[in-house]
Symmetry: C3
Subunit: 177 residues, 3 copies
């Protein structure tokens, strides 16, 4: 793939676990000279904090990093400017955090969609596809799966460009390559 041209709309990058979706999303973001990484993973323990720091160092000094495990809509509003590319990684972890803290999912999802409608510059969002296995035994996992699928559909509707990534290889589902 040779994504030389920076793209200024909203891009959704879908994929499975260890599918290379984050690496691909980062390669799209690197077409822009200014980038903000919005991490949704939470520093719940030392190991997680260590992994977040390692990932931040690996991205390099030319990214700014913002952590938004819950208040994602607010972070997007604050960081969006016409020339900065936002990379949100990832929506599915954010959804898990919302459920963990008992937040109202529909309200949070609507706030996210509103914030995305108003971004003034490029935004790339990473999300997991989790609905292609067998129906989970436990009810929380089923509810999570339903919410994740609905969230992906809602963001895909709003996005101008959607990719599905498997084994590091992107398939364009919607929009200009």
């Amino acid at each position: 793939m040779n994504m030389i041209e920076p793209y200024f709309g909203i891009t959704l990058v879908l994929g499975g676990a260890r599918s290379g979706k984050s690496t691909f999303a980062e390669s799209l973001a690197r077409c822009h000279s200014q980038r903000v990484y919005i991490a949704t993973a939470e520093r719940v323990d030392d190991e997680m904090a260590h992994r977040i720091e390692a990932h931040r160092r690996q991205r390099g000094a030319d990214w700014r990093t913002v952590e938004a495990p819950i208040d994602l809509a607010e972070a997007i509003r604050q960081e969006s400017t016409p020339n900065i590319c936002l990379l949100v990684d990832c929506l599915t972890v954010w959804l898990g955090n919302l459920m963990h803290y008992g937040r109202e999912i529909d309200t949070a999802q609507d706030a996210l969609l509103d914030a995305l409608t108003e971004v003034s510059g490029p935004a790339i969002l990473v999300a997991n596809e989790v609905g292609l296995g067998i129906v989970p035994d436990n009810a929380v996992a089923r509810t999570f799966r339903d919410h994740a699928g609905r969230l992906n559909q809602a963001v895909a509707r709003l996005a101008e460009r959607v990719y599905f990534v498997a084994a590091g290889l992107p398939v364009l589902l919607k929009g200009p390559a």
Copy 2:
């Protein structure tokens, strides 16, 4: 997508849980003026009956609805006419019903394929892809997954048109768009 032209062959719509596959299949069916919705979900309790009714109202009065949790081949034979579009939603729930009631899967699958070979008008079938997660712990889930994969392959061979839907977005796997 702009599916303006009605399509008169057999279409299979594959996708994960909450992938938007049913909504996409309905949009294909709406290209036809007359439509029969063949539901495979069973009214096992009041909640299920309520959900089936809610779904029926949401589709609107211009659909006829037939329930066929087990006798799907018979329902297809009875309802198929050259100018009516059949929408079967979904094959995977039907397979689960067959297993639950201890029916012989291969016999039921052959009867379904025979009925599909003889449909005189357009038919759209929805099915879940369930084989893209980790191997399930329990043997029934593994058997179900194997049957579902074989059923999807068999129907895909017979279908003239096959879509895979992710986040509401269809990818054409086979046939004319």
Copy 3:
């Protein structure tokens, strides 16, 4: 699909359980007149031995079969010649064997990639996509899923041609059709 031309590079065929990926990979291999089937499944019991034999008979006498549940890199090196097509089925079962016997995954993966870099003839590798379901409850399954995703990415990078198969239908992710 009409794969008439034999292809002499490395091909990766990804897919879910019962997706038809092995049948599709075999159809690609049959474009070559000489073929070696490298099976990674292990004869752990009589049932497995029986299934392996049945599968071997079904492929027919015009395949040579080699079993390599662990020493896959060595088998590839030994069998590769310019005019013989290797079919490895499958990488994910091999990965499961490595984990089961406590082998060092990174070392084994590097050895495999080295062997693939040096193959002198066509090679087709089958692998499972396992990361598109809900996060597994148990830690071993999560580790397996991570390793499988990384292995698929590494082989996909090296492969000249990658397919994703769903319901028996191939989608080209990379390279010439």
